[in-house]
Amino acid sequence: MDTETITNAKMSARNVSVFYGANKAIDDVSIDVSRENVTAFIGPSGCGKSTFLRTLNRMNDTIPSARVEGRIELDGEDIYGSGMDVVQLRARVGMVFQKPNPFPKSIFENVAYGPRIHGLAPNKAELETIVERSLKRAGLWDEVKDRLAESGTALSGGQQQRLCIARAIAVDPEVILMDEPCSALDPIATAKIEELIHELRGRYAIVIVTHNMQQAARVSQRTAFFHLGVLVEYGETTEIFTNPRQTRTKDYITGRYG
């Protein structure tokens, strides 16, 4: 097993195991998430990469049978510790889901919702500024600036996903988790999201789960390969794809299974 550590990590997991009832979905994973790079989790379906991603902002809490063991830190603070407010944690560690899931409200309201519930904007003008900035960062502003009052669900799939990214950015998170954000999108929309990930890199720590290896190679600087709930290999993306140390990694990226 690979436990390469990196200095000055944004998030770090140590000996994390996740159970669904008696079923062990993640087995003793230790990994560091880089502050300024994009980290990709790859692996075949059911390998636990999404499950692990969801432990990073405690979305697994919503599943009654799920249980997490081990320690996960955000800037050195234990996110499963008693001092951690899960609501605040999810504002700091935002999430973009597999299927675009805008609220059935206006585009403006979709983005404004987060800042509003966290009290980030003292007045309407401020809120409008946040919405505009978030939509600009998500590369959606030019397409929707004249129809902010229209429903977010009326947008195309790719636009919806960028709206969801804008919604996540609007609360000014430190980390953005993306759970296969392009799996429901066509190649052009996918290219736009990937471009966006490049632009967001550095400002936010980004973790992306993908089952598309080319995508991992394109967008990430570090890649973790999961298989059957175990972290097989973790390192520089170029290393993983050109010179994997483990045969299982090599077999997977060369298409032997997956």
Partner: protein, 304 residues
């Protein structure tokens, strides 16, 4: 040829074969038979409704005039009016809605969003489903025992009738509410949780507004059933002869279905017309409520 894993079928299917044609004809007959049966079932229920409407309108329309719509019960059929019973029903329904809606919706939200899944919540779930099927006369007896004999609330009053009917309507609202809440896609909850909404914010900002049309539909169906209930109201004394409309929730009153029941029992010929007239008023009230339900549902429905 022989090294093919699946050799081609030597004789292709003959769709013009006589046996095949018979099969196809049989299928079409079955289709027609089913359509006819369905049509018969629909016309049977629609026929009864039409019969009820026509006979009631024919018998009762002549009995409806200003005096009937503004008056109260009397001993002389020429003097009776429906306003007293109508107001009694209205006050009763206000109490029922005021109690059953908030309690029902809160229960539904708690059971769906907060309660852990265990044996206790299973028992509660089964109990609520059973409660919805309990005969109304039993709720009447329950109301009599609790509200009159134990809490000593005024007899024959809309407040007691409303509370009793609320007990009956609540399970209907809980069941409809839970189904409506269940049908809100989980992705919306994830989305809200994912940007740091608390559980109560997820429920009040997203789940409830999206479930509202379904909850309202269930509520109105429950209310319509409560409006037509007679038996529980008889048990708590809303069958008294009341010659003036009730002034408030605690004054003696009667309700529309009870009034119909009382008048239909009268020997005097003049009451036949008045009974039909009262039925027309009750049906109009029901139709108005259902119309409101449809309006509200369309109003709040979210298009995805």
């Amino acid at each position: 040829m022989s090294d093919l894993a699946f050799p081609l079928d030597p004789t292709p299917t003959d769709w013009n074969d006589a046996a095949m044609q018979r099969r196809i004809r049989k299928r079409y007959t079955a289709e027609r038979r089913f359509k006819l049966l369905g049509l018969a079932a629909v016309s049977l229920s629609a026929g009864f409704l039409a019969f009820l409407l026509i006979t009631m309108l024919a018998k009762g329309l002549g009995g409806i005039d200003i005096g009937f719509l503004t008056g109260s019960d009397a001993t002389d059929p020429a003097q009776v009016g429906i306003w007293g019973a109508f107001k009694g029903s209205l006050l009763t329904m206000i109490v029922t809605l005021g109690i059953a809606f908030p309690v029902g919706v809160l229960s539904a939200v708690y059971l769906e969003e907060y309660a852990p899944r265990n044996r206790w919540t299973d028992i509660i779930e089964v109990s609520i489903n059973n409660l919805a099927a309990v005969p109304s006369i039993i709720f009447g007896l329950l109301g009599l025992a609790i509200f009159l004999n134990f809490m000593h609330l005024p007899r024959s009053a809309p407040i007691v009738g409303g509370l009793t009917l609320a007990l009956m309507t609540m399970p209907v609202i809980v069941i409809a509410g839970r189904n409506a809440i269940k049908s809100v896609p989980p992705s919306i909850r994830d989305a809200a949780l994912g940007i740091g909404a608390s559980r109560i914010q997820v429920v009040s900002h997203h789940v409830l507004p999206l479930a509202l049309p379904g909850i309202l539909t269930g509520t109105i169906i429950g209310m319509a059933r409560a409006l037509g209930e007679t038996a529980p109201l008889l048990m708590i004394g809303m069958r008294a002869f009341i010659a003036s409309p009730p002034g408030g929730f605690t004054e003696p009153a009667t309700a529309l279905p009870v009034q119909i029941f009382l008048w239909s029992d009268e020997v005097s010929r003049g009451f036949v017309e008045k009974t039909s007239a009262a039925i027309i008023v009750l049906l109009a009230f029901l139709l108005a409520m259902n119309g409101l339900a449809i309006y509200l549902r369309n109003r709040f429905e979210t298009r995805w």
